[in-house]
């Protein structure tokens, strides 16, 4: 019997396999992972793992022996070359063919390359995989100054860790503020101040034009306006692009990712997609979006498993996300897209406050900065479709949870 073949051993791929067994699916399951490691948690990579607070063993979702025990054929270090939809089989590098009843594409995303001279020098890293982080850790020991290109979550988390490890840190961001793609200006301002207070240099509007090196190893980052920043190690975190190569080659519909419906089904009913690689009509967003988050990868993995196991559920999770930088916990829920009003609850100078975002008076998203209660209650309100008025939100005497009844 041809069972479920999962392409990708990240969060979505792992979750699909795990949930399939929990849903009672008893057919064959194979996970085909490109990395040489058993599926592991990525979030700690740029935080606890790099700080040495946890180890490789503890990053794993499950010990390797469990997969065989549960009848899951985990194959690591394998690349899928093509999907043969007519024959319902995938071809692996090396020529082996694997038949599938259902195929799950959990191919994730690939890091965006920095398109400047010198980007291939030694000492220039991306930060996405365990091997990336091990290479960074090995390189960090010998350097005093590091440069981060791109002030998104990954870059800023790395900056905080590198600072904690005693390195001089410069963050270069091309846009006029940090986290510009996902954060409100008030949050960008707070995070910029947070890093600067620790002595990390944040430079916005920096157009990196070249990485310079000596003997093949990076020594500095040059900007188009002539500024030069010394760096013995560079981390590039300028975003990712969905990995749709297999899907496109197989003729599956793609639209900023592999296009799926509310059950994570692609344009071929026997093929599903989940996680960073998938775009979908999100009921909460009211339009087609793609999310790069643990929440989305795990929840979509569960949705795929439910559909294959014969108990389909519609994907309708309210998005949530978090980031740890220094001692600050940033927690976000909802979507800021289209919001026209932001209410600040609490005093940003205290380091504990939240931002509630409204679209035409309707509560749509919360960013809580070391203010877990507002995150938790805000998320619950969003899940329940309830909204405080902006006036209520502005009044810190007003308890969000009172609306939850």
């Amino acid at each position: 019997m041809a069972g479920v073949v999962i392409v990708g051993g990240g969060q979505a791929g792992f979750q699909t396999a795990d949930s399939l067994r929990q849903e009672g699916y008893d057919g064959p399951i194979a996970i085909l992972g490109e990395e040489p490691h058993a599926p592991y948690q990525r979030p700690p990579l740029s935080k606890a793992y790099l700080l040495g607070e946890t180890d490789r063993e503890r990053l794993k979702f499950r010990p390797e022996a469990i997969y065989a025990e549960r009848g899951i054929d985990l194959r690591t270090g394998v690349r899928v070359e093509a999907i043969d939809r007519a024959a319902k089989a995938v071809t692996l590098a090396g020529g082996e063919r694997l038949a599938y009843g259902h195929l799950v594409l959990a191919t994730g995303a690939r890091v965006r390359e920095l398109p400047v001279p010198g980007a291939d020098l030694a000492g220039v890293h991306s930060l996405k995989t365990l091997d990336d982080v091990d290479a960074i850790e090995a390189g960090l020991a010998a350097v005093e100054r590091v440069c981060v290109i791109g002030a998104g979550f990954i870059g800023l988390e790395f900056a905080a860790v590198a600072h904690k490890l005693g390195k001089g840190v410069t963050v270069l961001e091309a846009a006029h503020r940090v986290m510009g793609r996902v954060a409100a200006p008030e949050l960008s301002e707070f995070v910029t101040g947070l890093h600067r207070a620790h002595g990390v240099e944040i430079v916005c509007g920096a157009q990196v034009s070249e990485l310079r090196g000596e003997g093949g190893r990076v020594t500095a980052v040059a900007c188009a306006d002539g500024r030069l920043f010394d760096a013995g190690l560079v981390v590039v975190g300028i975003g990712v692009v969905p990995d749709v190569a297999l899907a496109e080659a197989a003729g599956l519909e793609c639209d900023n990712g592999i296009a799926v419906d509310g059950f994570c089904r692609t344009s071929d009913p026997d093929i599903f997609a989940a996680g960073d690689c998938a775009s979908f009509d999100h009921p909460f967003a009211g339009k087609r979006i793609r999310l790069e988050s643990v929440q989305n990868a795990a929840d979509q993995g569960r949705i795929v498993a439910a559909a294959i196991a014969g108990t389909p559920r519609l994907y309708d999770s309210v998005p949530w996300f978090w980031s740890d930088q220094y001692d600050v916990k940033l927690q976000m829920a909802g979507l800021m897209d289209g919001c026209d009003e932001t209410v600040v609850r609490g005093d940003p100078a205290s380091g504990k406050f939240s931002l509630l975002h409204f679209r035409q008076g309707q509560f749509r998203a919360v960013d809580a900065i070391s203010k877990p209660a507002d995150y938790v209650q805000g998320r619950k309100l969003l899940e329940a479709g309830l909204s405080p008025t902006p006036e209520q939100a502005r009044d810190t005497g007003f308890k969000l949870k009172d609306l939850l009844g």
């Binding site: 503890r58 929440q295 877990p372």
Partner: protein
């Protein structure tokens, strides 16, 4: 190594020796014990490693941080007075013999 007993919601018991410093969440997931998810990688961000701690051991634990306290409001199964997040409890010799029960659901 401290011994931990995990009791699944269906009553299945697992007695495990955990390396000192591992969290209750890691001890479960890395021994293939179902009933604890730990979706956020153990950073007190998702409330999917909810456990009920045996009353006898409750007082031996550090009290929950403000963040854990709030995240416990996000558990899918009911929060009880002995509810904790497994990712926030590191086992040490002082906790040798601790018993934790898993809730019906985590997500």
């Amino acid at each position: 190594m401290p011994k931990v007993t995990y009791i699944e919601h269906n009553g299945t018991e697992h007695e495990i020796d955990l390396p000192d410093g591992w969290t209750l969440m890691q001890g479960a997931t890395l021994n293939g014990i179902d009933g604890i998810e730990g979706e956020c990688g153990g950073s007190c961000g998702c409330a999917t490693c909810h456990v009920y701690v045996d009353e006898a051991f409750l007082a031996k634990l550090d009290p929950p941080s403000e963040n854990e306290e709030e995240m416990l409001e996000c558990t899918v199964s009911p929060r009880e007075s002995n509810s904790r997040l497994g990712c926030q409890i590191k086992v040490t010799d002082a906790l040798d013999g601790i018993v934790v029960r898993m809730p019906e659901a985590q997500s």
